[in-house]
């Protein structure tokens, strides 16, 4: 109620939807990276590890509420004047946050990406980034009672991050067997030392580090009452889901979106799904988005049609487009695009 009134006043007197937006650039002089609706976090440590992973330790401002093991956050950082946002699972446990008010992200860097390669090189110690509240449903399902079911965890690549957080949080709460199978390319497994020490301390915990071919040659056996947690590439997750169903086990999974596969070769027609304000449309990479959305009666606005007037702009939440005037491929995160000069390269999520 109060905030609605304040925002109305803000519109009248500061022409911003909220006073915080009006004051933001001034407040940022004192509090770097202060942004309306986001938490600030200070970078305490950035370490590169094998397999082109980077470990980042952040200290969120104290208003940030502790996460549940397995949850993720949106991380926003400014690179060369641009604010970019990506979602990452928190690899550290809520216990660590309770103890020293820090969280750790373990991020696989993708040298072709716009975000992750810069994390290692441009995030300096003591600089500031923004994080969202912790979110996500991939958490231990039996956290309120003693854990009784056998637990099987399957991690593929950077899918290890929620598992680490869940393990450190829950390993002491049970005596029933916990097994982790962690699949990654040879010598690219993260957290090996931590896993070994956990196994030493807790006799009910065992783990295997495998490559994909080893995983294929040694099928999992699941008990009917096990809880199976899986995070990794889509293929792995659907295999394990089938396996769990067949065995009568409970299956829980976490999707993480990999960088979309870019088909920048306009000679091959591809079809993508464009979600606009929650409605799905189909589009091909052979024409600009404006024409295609118009022909399907989407609520788009036509302006000049040649990239000058910005009337057809809309906010792309995710996905890749190519600017037909400059040939630039967009970032995969949120940004404003002009439909009339945008060629879709992947599935898109947008709003007007």
């Amino acid at each position: 109620m109060l905030s609605t009134t304040l925002n109305k006043l803000s519109l009248w007197f500061s022409h911003h939807s909220a006073f915080s937006g009006y004051f933001e650039p001034v407040i940022q002089r004192v509090k770097p990276a202060w942004r309306q609706g986001l938490y600030r976090a200070q970078v305490l440590n950035v370490t590169k590890t094998i397999g082109s992973f980077v470990h980042i330790t952040l200290q969120p401002q104290h208003q940030w509420k502790a996460h549940k093991a397995g949850q993720h956050i949106e991380l926003t950082a400014e690179f060369n004047g641009r604010l970019l946002t990506r979602i990452f699972t928190i690899a550290s446990s809520p216990e660590q946050y309770a103890k020293d008010k820090t969280i750790t992200l373990v991020i696989k860097t993708n040298e072709l990406g716009r975000f992750t390669p810069q994390l290692a090189d441009e995030l300096t110690i003591n600089s500031w980034v923004n994080i969202s509240a912790a979110q996500g449903e991939f958490v231990f399902q039996q956290s309120n009672k003693p854990l009784e079911n056998p637990i099987v965890m399957l991690a593929g690549g950077s899918g290890i991050t929620p598992m680490m957080s869940m393990l450190s949080e829950h390993i002491s709460a049970t005596n029933s067997p916990m097994y982790l199978r962690y699949i990654a390319p040879l010598n690219e497994h993260q957290f090996v030392e931590q896993l070994e020490s956990l196994a030493k301390q807790h006799s009910h915990f065992t783990f295997d580090l495998m490559t994909r071919s080893e995983h294929k040659s040694q099928p999992l056996t699941l008990l009917a009452n096990s809880d199976v947690y899986c995070c990794g590439p889509q293929g792995l997750m659907s295999d394990i889901e089938t396996l769990s169903k067949d065995a009568g086990a409970n299956f829980y999974q976490e999707h993480f979106s990999l960088a979309p596969i870019v088909n920048d070769d306009s000679a091959t027609e591809i079809e993508v799904t464009v979600t606009l304000n929650g409605n799905a449309f189909t589009a091909s990479n052979q024409q600009n988005l404006l024409i295609q959305l118009e022909s399907q009666n989407a609520p788009v606005i036509r302006g000049c049609g040649i990239g000058v007037c910005h009337q057809c702009h809309c906010t792309k939440k995710s996905g890749l487009v190519k600017n037909l005037l400059t040939g630039d491929v967009s970032d995969s995160g949120e940004q404003i695009i002009q439909l009339c000069i945008s060629q879709p390269l992947s599935d898109l999520e947008m709003s007007i």
Binding site: W12, G81, E294, N297, G303, H313, G333, Q335, I336
Partner: protein
């Protein structure tokens, strides 16, 4: 001049834009945030100093100047450029063309629709670009002479003084005329009711803010603040109108016919922007206060290039114009402005030569 190679001309301008866009980054983001901060500081100090008139009237005058400066920065360097999408690449929630709103009677969204689409796409095309003379002034022989054109200089002065209201009303009418045609199968037209609502709600907000709320909270200083706000708004109106007139209505700008832009190529579009706009020379502070509309040519060639880059690209653009033997219309403020006045007087009379 021999037949111009429009495609090559377009390529050269495109590459200037692309090379410059590649350099855009932190420097430009810091720049616009710095301007926004100074806009805030000027506005706050200005409003406070309006209350010090009793101590010494000179302080009140300084207050007015600061408030006017703040409004000019907000309208020109920040509002106009941000609403053109020049800073959309920053992905800032508040500094982008979709959410920015300015301290002026004209509703930003309505302005954005008409200005960016109609004026920037159809620059100086008679019958399409309603900004050419704003439907009030006869500024070329393309328009039929009417008796009222005899006193159009007075109309011009009135328009300048009331510029924010002129613009607010102009954009409302434009929408009605321009989007009057419906395209089959799709309703893109903004309903009159919404336009009217936007017009009146923004206008009410502005009037209440400057002429009711701030004077009232000043208590006994009611009149000082009311008059101060009035003068600050007038100064902003005069300045913006003067600068904007120098951008398209100077002595030698060209106009175009609707027929001439049929099947126009990108090169021809650039060519029209080049001949339809004019620059003003000046120092850095001057360019800032004009919102870099003193680089009107560059702005029309590259409307979504950050204004912080216009000074860099100007010499490159001039070079290309020279190569294609196009006039690069620039001059001192007094030259350009006297050109505007000449034009207003000249076309007051029928069939001016």
């Amino acid at each position: 001049m021999t037949q111009m190679n429009y495609d090559q001309f377009a390529q050269e301008l495109d590459s200037i834009k692309q090379n410059t866009m590649a350099k855009v980054g932190k420097k430009d983001a810091d720049y616009i945030r710095r301007v926004i901060r100074w806009q805030r500081y000027c506005g706050w100090t200005g409003r406070l100093m309006l209350l010090t008139g009793l101590i010494h009237p000179a302080l009140w005058v300084v207050g007015i100047l600061l408030l006017a400066t703040s409004k000019i920065l907000d309208n020109m360097e920040i509002g106009h450029n941000v609403m053109h999408g020049q800073y959309d690449w920053m992905n800032d929630k508040h500094i982008n063309s979709q959410s920015y709103e300015w301290d002026i009677a004209c509703d930003g969204k309505s302005w954005n629709r008409v200005h960016n689409f109609e004026h920037h796409t159809y620059t100086n095309v008679i019958g399409k670009d309603r900004d050419f003379g704003y439907g009030l002034l006869r500024l070329s022989n393309d328009f039929k002479w009417k008796v009222k054109n005899l006193w159009q200089f007075i109309t011009y002065i009135n328009l300048s003084l009331l510029f924010q209201w002129g613009i607010a009303y102009h954009e409302l009418a434009a929408e009605r005329v321009f989007f009057g045609k419906k395209k089959a199968g799709r309703d893109q037209r903004v309903p009159h009711s919404e336009l009217k609502h936007r017009f009146f709600s923004k206008a009410t907000r502005q009037i209440i803010k400057d002429y009711v709320f701030f004077p009232l909270i000043a208590g006994p200083l009611f009149l000082w603040v009311l008059v101060g706000n009035l003068i600050a708004n007038l100064l902003r109106n005069l300045w913006t109108s003067t600068i904007i007139f120098c951008g398209h209505f100077t002595e030698h700008v060209h106009t175009f016919t609707e027929a001439s832009i049929e099947n126009e190529t990108r090169g021809q579009w650039y060519y029209r922007q080049a001949l339809g706009s004019s620059n003003i020379q000046g120092g850095k502070a001057f360019h800032l206060m004009t919102g870099h509309l003193s680089f009107q040519i560059e702005h029309h060639l590259f409307p979504d290039l950050p204004s912080s880059r216009y000074q860099d690209v100007a010499p490159q653009v001039q070079e290309v114009f020279k190569k294609y033997q196009l006039p690069y219309n620039t001059g001192s403020f007094s030259t350009q402005y006297s050109g505007v006045l000449k034009r207003i007087f000249k076309y007051s009379l029928p069939n001016a030569v």
